[in-house]
């Protein structure tokens, strides 16, 4: 690990100033950052520890939404009674990720900034445009079983690893940001992460030093919420494919449909195509199959990951069938 200086922030504005300098980085839970610093993939020269700032609370909003402080632990958020009752898809997604120990350390803001687990990104001897811009992509033509089938580019086919972010996209969350001179902005989560294009090393719209202060959830949409994750082992493993679904039915017709996939792209993948194929249609497997086909119409395999195109469709169909069976009961 490269040497760095360390400071513990007690004031958000001062932290933003400190982190705006080149080479500076925030550290919160540190579970991903320290992992990458040990491998010298991340090489900050100065760490600003923001884990003790007063951004840990989960607060009610006037519109029946919730504001989750960026420093709230993944475990506290998953266990929060309001999240469990009103946003169960978020609780399920958080609990499907990592281990008990990691969820206790990892913060909500840090979860959004996780780097890909592409093995070529982690291997300093491989070419990787994300780690070393311009060096090429060893995953294209390499072992790419875990890689993207949607929204990839010739520069990068890595996937985003977060489960939580997939649920947040389905919930239309906003990300609250604090920048220099106390400027704040709220960015829709769908616009927060970038597709790789020709600059896969730039993963979000964050400016240098800009800090995530909270995740804002609007009032939950009507309907049943389900997160389903398919992976190589039953626990403590990243997704091959995952899906967050929110679906409501009235008299056999689908009246609300939100579909977001994980494990298929460089960012959580909202499928407006699947949603359009579900809304106002009769609930049932024929509708779900049509939606799944619409969702994967633009999908491209790279060889080893071709199976994900089928797997994503089956996962969506099964999740919708489970969710609507429950939705009809209630």
């Amino acid at each position: 690990m490269r040497a760095f200086t360390y400071e513990r922030a007690t004031d958000a504005g001062a932290a933003v100033n400190a982190a705006s300098n080149p080479g500076a980085k925030y550290i919160s839970g540190g579970t991903n950052l320290l992992d990458l610093m040990k491998l010298e993939i991340e090489r900050p020269t100065h760490l600003v520890d923001i884990s003790r700032l007063a951004f840990r609370d989960i607060e009610e909003l006037p519109d029946h939404g919730l504001r989750i402080g960026a420093q709230a632990a993944n475990s506290d958020t998953a266990a929060d009674a309001r999240v469990r009752a009103r946003y169960p898809v978020l609780s399920q997604a958080l609990l499907a990720g990592a281990s008990g120990q990691l969820r206790n350390m990892a913060s909500i803001g840090g979860n959004l900034l996780q780097r890909t687990r592409c093995p070529y990104f982690y291997d300093p001897h491989s070419s990787c445009n994300k780690r070393e811009p311009g060096s090429g992509c060893a995953a294209i033509g390499g072992v790419n079983r875990n890689h993207a089938i949607l929204g990839a580019s010739d520069a990068c086919i890595a996937t985003h690893p977060s489960d939580m972010a997939v649920a947040l996209v389905a919930l239309d969350a906003g990300i609250e940001l604090l920048g220099k001179s106390n400027t704040t902005r709220v960015v829709a989560i769908g616009d927060f992460h970038r597709l790789p294009g020709d600059k896969p090393h730039i993963e979000t719209i964050l400016n240098q030093g800009e800090m995530i202060t909270a995740v804002v959830l609007p009032a939950p949409p009507p309907g049943r919420q389900v997160y389903r994750k398919v992976r190589d082992r039953a626990s403590y493993e990243f997704a091959l494919v995952s899906v967050a679904v929110i679906v409501a039915i009235e008299r056999g017709t689908i009246t609300t449909a939100r579909v977001t996939f994980g494990g298929v792209a460089h960012k959580p993948w909202r499928s407006h195509e699947a949603e359009a194929a579900l809304i106002d249609r009769p609930a049932g497997m024929a509708t779900y199959r049509a939606a799944a086909q619409a969702a994967m119409k633009a999908a491209t395999g790279r060889g080893h990951n071709d199976f994900k195109i089928d797997l994503a469709q089956r996962t969506l169909c099964r999740t919708l069938a489970d969710a609507t069976r429950e939705a009809e009961k209630s």
Binding site: A14, A78, R84, A85, G100, M105, S235
Partner: protein
């Protein structure tokens, strides 16, 4: 001053760190890169927490911070000024075993023993989480606050601790004994 740098100049790569471990407070001058695990093992000579993967994947380094289980390899010692840290050495002693330690012996919940202190610290944290009503990936309905620690729940909640000897059935049995109050 709005930014507090614990007794360091921003130009130095070392820091004075005050750690409270197993009820005892100690101050060290540490390289900022020192993981909590290395501080415990190399500076405090508490070698119960083990270094397995050093990347948060195996759980052998699990300790409790303010009552919560974490991977001590994936956090910096300097981040834990005045936190309450408990290692396996603080959980029980040879003369006064923690109920989980007694249950692991009774149920033969280990073979080589390398993962065991991590397993036991993790189980202690996990039991507190379940007692607080936290759900898990194995919980059928996350909105329910009735948590029953079935074997499936124990296995899911302990998935961050790998046992290379595969003593899992006995580890689950030991934890189940403590859940049922038969561990000592």
């Amino acid at each position: 001053m709005t930014v507090e740098s614990p007794s360091t100049s921003l130009q130095t790569h070392t820091a004075a760190v005050r750690l409270r471990v197993n009820g005892t407070e100690r101050v060290f001058e540490l390289d900022t890169r020192t993981s909590l695990l290395d501080a415990l093992r190399e500076h405090l000579h508490l070698t119960g927490a083990k270094k397995g993967c050093d990347h948060g994947q195996c759980g052998a380094c699990t300790v409790l911070i303010n009552g919560r289980r974490i991977n001590s390899c994936l956090t910096l010692a300097v981040k834990h000024e005045s936190d309450e840290i408990v290692t396996i050495e603080g959980l029980g002693t040879a003369d006064a075993l923690h109920p989980l330690q007694a249950a692991f012996i009774e149920r033969d919940g280990f073979q080589c023993g390398y993962c065991t202190s991590g397993q036991i610290c993790s189980a202690a944290g996990m039991l507190a989480e379940a007692a607080a009503g936290w759900p898990s990936h194995a919980t059928t309905c996350v909105a329910s606050h009735e948590i029953e620690l079935t074997d499936a729940e124990i296995r899911e909640r302990m998935s961050g601790n790998i046992c290379r000897c595969a003593a899992y059935p006995n580890i689950v049995a030991a934890i189940r004994d403590v859940v049922e109050g038969a561990g000592s």
